[in-house]
């Protein structure tokens, strides 16, 4: 069965250009923003202006009177079709529109529908609300004990078994407390010759997908179609069906191209509001956020990480205690998963016998936080790799040498007890050392006395969220052409291309000839979501299984049709012989769920906590202007263990893209808040890196590795290059000018003030 014989079996590992490239660069790709339906109404959200308050009244009369306004709805209207209109992946804490109280500045309180989006926007400005203000809490550490309590009662969704015990808990902002114990930390610290303790903080930032969030809900006789820019169509279907009390098959979720997601478009966002508004209005409703309103929808957790380590006289880590506070904002979203599933990697890729972790998901009166490229890992690596660098310097051990003494090697168990199988921590570390010529110490010097050169590095790792399921369907038409139906969302990461390569490899066609059906829950099967770098591994397996299933069925058909020799038939010959004409299909199905064992609720131990580990590190060379605190990155080296790359070129763009994104979070980006109000909610004042901010050189290195349980030896890579960037830069700054920054972002002013404080201390001022 050779359609293009010259390509047989060379589909994997080939840098197939992105299948959707021509469509996108020629402006033909369709997005939900472009979609218009007859009779469609535009929605504009009226948002809370207070951080925490009881709603006394909402006056929508002026808005309703405005010419061109079709409807104005509040939480009370939503209740008429959804009696309990709260949603969320971990907790049912988020109302479609505010009910009784508001929890943060920007929470949706009412919605205006009009045929003209400008009419809707102007009418929304005529709505007023009165609140009885309640005390608010914004800081994650204060939230642990504050009198201000964001939610009266915790309402776990019931989806995750380890959250069930939280049901009904009152007077607390702790949405989840996660604990891990390994060995005997008390004894470990008692034996230590040196003990180091530090606190590191990260700021709240936003994903900034260039396509802002958008959903169009289209009600029909007894079904609803939801066109949405979502990373998790299957979850949207389940959650909308649950809210409406409908079976899943009456909800159809369709996702065309996405203009970036990065975790912002996960689980359920605008879909509940769009669906309720459409059903109430009996018309299609489009909710599309301007860039500015994304800042009130989902963000990345601010965090505080207190880390303490005990070291022996040879520079071996004996014990580590990690205390992490995650600022989840007003709704839990997926924050409790971040707290746990990323929380257990808090001690870093180090072989430490005695470990304790206490990780807390906290509610505060800030805009909600959820998943963002790295799922909490960059916050953790920022802390533990800055801490590692400090320890090495204080002990007078070279930072790479110190890591060599302590990293997890071979199959040694990580803090959970799961072995680090196929985890090339040492290879990543050594590759960074090699690229930076670390040992020979070839350090650049500047002729300019106002410039100082510095270099730094950091390594980190991540577990894949587990257990999760993917299903795929491969449909072979009667002419032998192949369609792949899957609910993985290609939001720019190149998954369509990689999945087509897998099908092509097995069915012996060209990747370019495989057609991908974009998510449509009526035809594409279940997938947990496109998140956490899980698709290559999980969906990759499902697609592989589906293609193998199709291939087996074709072979069976060939056999039944009397073909014996493999080389002499083409799929179209089989269909023709069986049906007497070009007719029929062969459908292959694949389902994949990895092995998993739940951690012991007492101590967090499990020997199968993740199906694979992602390892990444970054080396940075920079130059600091000692008079202004500005610094320029001369060289950024990203090294990753991603198993065997399915498509090397795409993988490389994932590495450079992820590292640039994290560079923005490290140097520039920060949501500034004043009494809970975001004061820079626009791209004019929330600055993301531009082309001139790209380091002089970015080098991406893939270490030779093979993920033995992965599809064709591959594993995920979308987040790996985010891990090391922040601490590598901070460590390089320390190397250059001797100041240690413990709070992101690393602004020129922060560097300058730290240098000044150091001079002051030195001169006794």
């Amino acid at each position: 069965m050779n359609i293009r014989p010259e390509l047989t079996n060379h589909q994997i590992g080939r840098s197939v250009p992105r299948l959707e490239g021509p469509e996108k660069v020629s402006g033909r790709a369709s997005y939900v923003h472009n979609l218009k339906l007859p009779g469609m109404l535009y929605a504009k959200i009226f948002r809370s202006t207070v951080a925490h308050g009881r709603i006394l009244s909402i006056d929508v009369s002026a808005a309703r009177m405005m010419e061109g306004v079709e409807h104005v709805f509040t939480g009370e209207d939503v209740k008429t079709i959804v009696p309990n209109p709260y949603f969320g992946p971990a907790f049912h804490d988020q109302p479609v529109l505010a009910i009784d109280k508001v929890h943060f500045v920007g929470e949706p309180v009412a919605v205006v529908l009009a045929r003209d989006p400008y009419v809707a926007a102007e009418a929304a400005q005529l709505i007023t609300a009165e609140y009885e203000e309640l005390p608010a809490v914004f800081d994650e550490v204060e939230a642990m004990h504050s009198k201000a309590v964001v939610h009266e009662e915790l309402k776990p969704a019931g989806t995750f078994p380890d959250l069930k015990h939280l049901a009904g808990r009152k007077d607390t902002n702790i949405a989840l407390d996660y604990h891990l114990r390994r060995g005997d930390p008390v004894a470990g610290f008692a034996q230590a010759v040196h003990v180091f303790e530090h606190e590191f903080r990260t700021q709240q930032v936003m994903h900034v997908p260039l396509e802002p969030m958008v959903t169009l809900a289209e009600p029909h006789h007894n079904t609803i179609i939801i066109h949405t820019a979502s990373q998790s169509p299957s979850f949207v279907r389940i959650e909308i069906a649950r809210l409406l009390g409908w079976p899943e098959n009456r909800v159809q979720v369709k996702v065309p191209h996405l203009g970036g997601g990065f975790g912002a478009k996960l689980y359920i966002k605008l879909e509940a509001l769009a669906a309720c508004a459409a059903l109430l209005a009996g018309a299609p409703v489009k909710v599309m956020l301007p860039m500015e309103e994304q800042f009130y929808t989902i963000t990345k957790h601010a965090s505080t990480f207190r880390i303490k380590s005990g070291v022996d006289h040879e520079g071996r880590l004996l014990a580590r205690h990690c205390e992490v506070y995650w600022n989840g904002g007003a709704f839990a979203d997926i924050g409790p998963r971040v707290t746990q599933k990323s929380g257990f990697t808090a001690p870093g890729p180090y072989d430490i016998d005695n470990v304790s972790i206490d990780s807390y998901a906290l509610y505060t009166n800030r805009p909600p936080a959820g998943a963002l490229r790295g799922f909490g890992i960059p916050q953790l690596v920022w802390a533990y790799e800055s801490h590692t660098d400090i320890i090495a310097h204080e002990l007078g051990i070279d930072p790479i040498e110190f890591r060599r003494r302590n990293i997890l090697r071979d199959d040694r168990p990580q803090a959970t007890g799961t072995p680090m199988t196929d985890a090339a921590v040492d290879a990543v570390l050594e590759k960074i050392a090699e690229c930076m010529q670390w040992e020979s110490g070839s350090r650049r010097k500047s002729d300019d006395p106002t410039k100082r050169f510095g270099r730094g590095m950091a390594i980190g790792f991540k577990a894949s969220i587990s257990p999760t399921t993917s299903v795929a369907v491969v449909n072979v038409a009667a002419d032998g052409s192949v369609v792949l139906q899957l609910s993985t969302v290609d939001m720019g990461q190149g998954s369509d291309t990689a999945m087509a390569q897998i099908v092509a490899e097995i069915l012996e066609v060209a990747a370019e000839d495989v057609r991908i059906v974009h998510p449509d829950t009526d035809v594409t099967p279940y997938d947990m979501a496109t998140l956490g770098s899980r698709s290559t591994f999980h969906m990759g397996h499902a697609v592989r299984l589906a293609a193998e299933d199709a291939k087996r069925k074709l072979e069976e058909l060939a056999h039944a049709m009397g073909f014996t020799d493999h080389a002499v038939w083409q799929p179209r010959d089989l269909f023709r012989r069986k049906y007497g004409m070009q007719a029929g299909n062969v459908i292959g199905v694949g389902t994949f769920i990895p092995e998993y064992r739940s951690p012991d609720p007492e101590n967090g131990q499990s020997d199968k906590v993740t199906p694979f580990w992602m390892i990444g590190g970054t080396g940075v060379e920079l130059e600091v202007d000692v008079e202004t605190g500005h610094f320029r990155i001369l060289r950024m080296i990203n090294v990753a263990d991603l198993g065997t790359p399915l498509n090397p070129r795409i993988v490389e763009t994932q590495l450079s893209g992820a590292s640039m994104m994290q560079l923005g979070f490290t140097m520039f980006e920060e949501m500034r808040l004043d009494a809970g109000q975001v004061t820079n909610a626009s791209l004019a004042d929330y600055k993301i890196p531009g082309i001139q901010d790209v380091p002089d050189a970015i080098e991406n290195e893939i270490v030779a590795a093979h993920q033995s349980n992965g599809p064709f030896g591959a594993k995920g890579v979308g987040e790996t290059a985010t891990f090391g960037v922040s601490p590598a830069i901070a460590n390089a700054l320390f190397d250059a000018v001797g100041v240690r920054l413990t709070q992101l972002p690393l602004t020129p002013e922060a560097v300058f003030m730290a240098m000044r404080a150091k001079e002051g201390a030195a001169s006794g001022v």
Binding site: M66, E67, Q125, T628, K687, G690, T747, P748, E749
Partner: protein, 289 residues
């Protein structure tokens, strides 16, 4: 919906007549890059926008007169200034400044008139044109007048333009052997609005500094002439120590404000450094010629 009226007068005179009103919700519209932003955020709600787009034909010329004065029509886009050979020859600093002013999309739409009239202190062109001794040609109900760019600003987002007055062009005098430098400091991304802008123009004769212009912006409530630092430099030999002192004096005299770009304490320190560096750079340019 309230909406607003958009009018497109065909002549400058008609535009002036339409703008000759006390109503602050009536304003000219050029490239729209600043005004649309204010409308989107609800800071400015116009009742009428007087689009100057129909005037572009007559007011977007770049010309050089026989005395060496460069005239740039108010409707000239920043991109046109960036790519003009005449500008490159006679005011080479201007194209250089454009490279880091906003981005290509903004420069393709934004106009010189808008860049001068907007009055946001976080703008790059005003200090540059002021240091070049440029003048604005303003046309109003009472006729035409020339306003030095150095005197154009009355306060935060406030110009001295009067009711009905439109910027028609800007006039840049010949360089006369002076060297000019603009140093833009951003504290966030490279293409950000400046946190501090320092512009200088220096002319030497007989071993001393004779012509000195020094302006700071962005860190200040409005563009500020650094008069004491200028006085300290004028008539003296440009030695390293003098430049260092000028930086320090500048930092003392300038009134720096806290904003999203940084604290006043930090930006004061930046003033001292960037003034000194700007002076050095201008002198170095001079000695290279």
């Amino acid at each position: 919906m309230r909406g607003f009226e958009l009018v497109r007068p065909a002549t400058l005179e008609e535009a002036i007549r339409l703008l000759d009103t006390d109503d602050p919700t009536v304003r000219p519209l050029s490239g729209g890059t600043a005004i649309m932003q204010m409308m989107k955020t609800g800071i400015f709600k116009p009742s009428r926008l007087v689009s100057l787009s129909s005037l572009a034909g007559d007011h977007s010329a770049i010309t050089l007169d026989d005395k060496g004065f460069l005239s740039i029509g108010a409707m000239t886009t920043l991109a046109a200034v960036e790519h003009s050979q005449v500008v490159l020859q006679h005011a080479p600093l201007l194209p250089k400044v454009m490279k880091r002013l906003a981005n290509v999309r903004v420069r393709n739409a934004a106009t010189v008139g808008g860049a001068l009239a907007h009055g946001d202190p976080h703008m790059d062109l005003p200090p540059v044109l002021a240091a070049l001794d440029a003048e604005v040609i303003a046309q109003g109900p009472g006729g035409q007048r020339r306003i030095p760019v150095a005197d154009l600003y009355a306060g935060y987002f406030e110009t001295v333009l009067q009711r009905g007055e439109i910027i028609a062009s800007v006039s840049v005098p010949p360089r006369n052997g002076c060297n000019s430098v603009y140093r833009k400091t951003t504290t966030r991304t490279a293409d950000d609005w400046p946190a501090l802008g320092v512009a200088t123009s220096l002319g030497r004769g007989e071993g001393v500094l004779q012509h000195v212009r020094l302006f700071a912006s962005a860190a200040t409530e409005r563009m500020t002439r650094l008069g004491s630092a200028e006085a300290h430099l004028r008539g003296n030999r440009p030695e390293a120590k003098l430049l260092e002192e000028a930086g320090r004096i500048a930092a003392q005299e300038v009134e720096v404000i806290d904003d999203a770009h940084g604290s006043a304490a930090y930006k004061v320190a930046l003033v001292a450094v960037q003034v000194r560096r700007a002076l050095h750079e201008a002198l170095q340019q001079g000695s290279e010629q």
